[in-house]
Amino acid sequence: MVHFTAEEKAAITSLWGKVNVEEAGGEALGRLLVVYPWTQRFFDNFGNLSSTSAIMGNPKVKAHGKKVLTSFGDAIKNMDNLKGAFAKLSELHCDKLHVDPENFRLLGNVLVCVLAHHFGHEFNPQVQAAFQKVVAGVANALAHKYH
């Protein structure tokens, strides 16, 4: 189980407080679909994903990105019990959505890139390390109920 120090929790909560979840969510999901195009396999009904600009401007991508990142925000409130917090979502992603957990790792790293892009120098090595722990913890929690 992943443990967060008080410093890590503080760094994470502080930065997250400044994140525009709607914007960052759309950006992260969009970049996932652009940088790792095979991830588009889960979104056949999203309409036009034929180019980078189509993907980044796609309203369904933005809406879904917001949903995903809002859920991620719940993780930040439950850093001491990620597996518990994501148990239901884990079952959903396995049984209904059939998403390979590797995709959670890919999205986590894209989110880190988006945060770096937005926050620049404020996203220093220590803050990045704390967020890498969160995204890894969320990915593992979402994979935990797979069978």
Partner: protein
Amino acid sequence: MVLSAADKSNVKACWGKIGSHAGEYGAEALERTFCSFPTTKTYFPHFDLSHGSAQVKAHGQKVADALTQAVAHMDDLPNALSALSDLHAYKLRVDPVNFKFLSHCLLVTLACHHPAEFTPAVHASLDKFFSAVSTVLTSKYR
């Protein structure tokens, strides 16, 4: 996975913008890698890994110079990186998983310092480029 003409152009343009900061970014990417992925430190027991370490600075410059070479020879990475490929396969034997960690931290470093350049398309091209370099460097492992 193949680098398209657009990918090559994106990487050349971005790397060109970095200019003389390449060494500094190489060192920062290494520091980020050691912080976020502590298992990578096992390859550097002989280094001072504290912030500002001269050894990390020098090594970052080495990594950056190799990437600059790679950018200049994107049409023939296997040849351009042949000596480094031998080094990693027979001497350094860095487990392949670690190339992904360093590549990711290179992306993060570039995103921090060059937000205007780090568009989704450039992000994709850079990720492909680092992946191609990593593949060449691990190509003789077995």
